[in-house]
Symmetry: C2
């Protein structure tokens, strides 16, 4: 298999960009990635996006994106796996280069969410769940995650206070990340007294609504050094799925998609969970963080909340998790998030992430998932 | 680059399947492909689909599709490029195997369109065009294609009668294809007296609304012979794009996306247009067929209508075009169409297509496009 490298990354701050459309966001992120790669010109584009079809009535988004990058004529396609679209787009883009089809491609994650009323956005986000067996009966996306959180707290005897520590930490990290959406520090008390979204999920357990674009430029081995003095190798990728509806799953707290995707990525990269120095995981809600940590084998099932309480997974630990501030506080422009994560890990490995840094990491991981851990991708990067 | 082969194909008849959902259609097509490949079990799934997000409020479709195939846990993603989704999904799936990431994968095209009123479907199809610069001003998708048809007729002095010959031929072929949606023979007069959809486009210039699923199983070279005595090699693939809005294009009648995609595919397959024995092209409307024929260099610009009139591109010609009946009469379950095309070409090359057959073809081509030739993929297969 051809080796593939990340040779350029760029992103916009995540925010409610009322004054910017898809094209403006993509342009801004691409110009940064282009400069970061000393002018690498992508031959094709893969776009990660969830909501353009349902909210903006815009399919064919790739043509708009390619034009915004000055790449009219180049081919490409959009990948959709709900909130996991960005990570899957990255894997699709990786394989376009690994196969030898292209030498240089761009993976673009872009999402606009702010322009619509919250109720409309919430209903579009529920498209990640099973329309015919869940949503039609009134289930919201936070509601389905609340089922998992309640079960987790009951089975593993974790308290609501215990589970408030994660978002507090995420806001602390985001405070230092110039691209993050929520840069205010919060306390456990702030989490507990915030509005209940779907009991036991509080507002401050939940990723915010925001807009943003991130671009990662990939190149084959023979081109990589030309574009970047510190190209970052893609050492492993893995994909996994689970039943779309929660009621069909074997175990709501041991997500099959995360187990399958991480097993494949570890095997391909020839590493184990204990080798990972730094990772970005998918904490759309606090419960999602716990399921990711355990599914990745950073903790035994049911123990991640205790390890967080003991101060594990912080910036000097191995692995250091979500130094960006995570989906919770860096933000979660849904279909773009997976591309942000890969860009952040690449910067951590290069040592130029502009926020909280891990200490000299050499192996990093990004986990992005769509639905309630329904469609998961895991990417492992090496310096 | 690893060689990749088509080792199994399956499809449902295209029809208004009011009694079948996504899962039932996929299951039916996959069982056929599975048997055709003597039990090849895909490690991952790529889905081509346009409308599940906008019409059915269902994202994460891949999880539902994997479950319907008995492949829960396997990863995968959905590719969207409007009506070109299936062809792009095929290219994405091809690269997953060519790269060495997987040895066996399934590309699934599936679309449901019948359950909604025509006005709702027409509006969902318009998402292939530019929401912000075209659709908001009242443009429909047939309306945008009508602009191209009118311009073509004016510049190249083709009459409405001349352009009625294509759909007549498509219905003739579909009559013999058991999977086709419209198996009635029609005359030039039938076309001319059919309802005007968007002048000069008549109802009988237009692909029908229908549901269907097609599955193509791909395998690496070392596995291919195990699964099929006549594996069909993927010799070339190419992608191309054009401006999303027609007003930004250099030339509405020389679609950049088709030119770029076909150039790349020919180069990769080391063939020229004159080497193609049999092809399936994207005739969502009669005008689209002409643009495909010319963009692929099967005819000089502006001359395809004359060649059709002279009886070219029929079953004994080289290339023989759309022996399935094409989008016009085989049907056009939009995001699935590109997968139908590849399956049909593979069967033509194997000699077991159950409708009108080309005479001993060895090189075949499939062209699928989304929007008004906005996002095009070209796939070249060799026996």
């Amino acid at each position: 298999m051809r080796k593939v490298y990340v040779v350029g990354v760029g992103m916009t701050k995540i925010d409610r960009h009322y004054d910017k459309g898809f094209a403006e966001l993509v342009h801004e992120a691409f110009v940064k990635a282009y400069e970061d790669s000393r002018g690498a010109e992508p031959e094709a584009v893969v776009v990660g996006n969830m909501l353009s079809s349902s909210l903006y009535q815009q399919d064919s988004l790739t043509a708009l994106v390619a034009d915004a990058m000055g790449l009219r004529g180049r081919g490409g396609f959009k990948v959709e796996a709900a909130c996991g679209s960005g990570g899957y787009a990255f894997v699709a883009g990786y394989s376009l280069v690994a196969s030898g089809l292209y030498d240089v491609i761009a993976v673009v994650g872009v999402e606009k969410m702010s322009d619509y009323p919250t109720a409309r956005v919430t209903s579009a986000l529920a498209q990640a769940a099973d329309a015919e067996h869940e949503v039609i009966y009134g289930a919201s996306f936070p509601g389905l995650n609340a089922l998992a959180m309640r079960l987790y707290m009951k089975i593993y005897r974790a308290s609501r206070e215990d589970l408030a520590l994660w978002p507090v930490r995420m806001h602390e990290y985001a405070y230092y990340n110039p691209y993050a959406q929520l840069r205010n520090r919060i306390t456990v008390e702030d989490v507990l007294k915030s509005t209940t979204i779907a009991d036991p999920i509080k507002l401050m357990d939940s990723a915010p609504v925001g807009d943003g674009a991130a671009v990662v430029i990939l190149a084959s081995e023979d081109m990589a050094k030309k574009f970047n003095d510190t190209p970052i190798q893609i050492a492993g990728v893995g994909l996994g799925s689970d039943a779309l509806d929660l009621s069909s799953r074997d175990d709501l707290l041991k997500p099959l998609s995360i187990v399958k995707a991480s097993e494949k990525a570890y095997r391909m990269a020839k590493v184990e969970s204990k080798d990972i120095d730094v990772a970005e995981i998918h904490d759309a809600f606090t419960i999602t963080a716990l399921l990711c940590i355990e599914g990745l084998r950073f903790a035994e099932w049911g123990t991640s909340w205790k390890m967080i309480k003991e101060g594990r997974f912080t910036k000097d630990d191995k692995p250091a998790l979500n130094l960006s501030g995570g989906l919770k506080a860096r933000g979660h422009p849904v279909g773009a998030t997976g591309v942000y994560q890969v860009a952040e890990i690449a910067m951590q490995l290069r040592g130029d992430f502009p926020g909280v840094k891990a200490s000299s990491p050499s192996i990093g991981l990004a986990l992005n998932t769509g639905g309630v851990a329904t469609l998961t991708s895991v990417v492992i990067l090496k310096r």
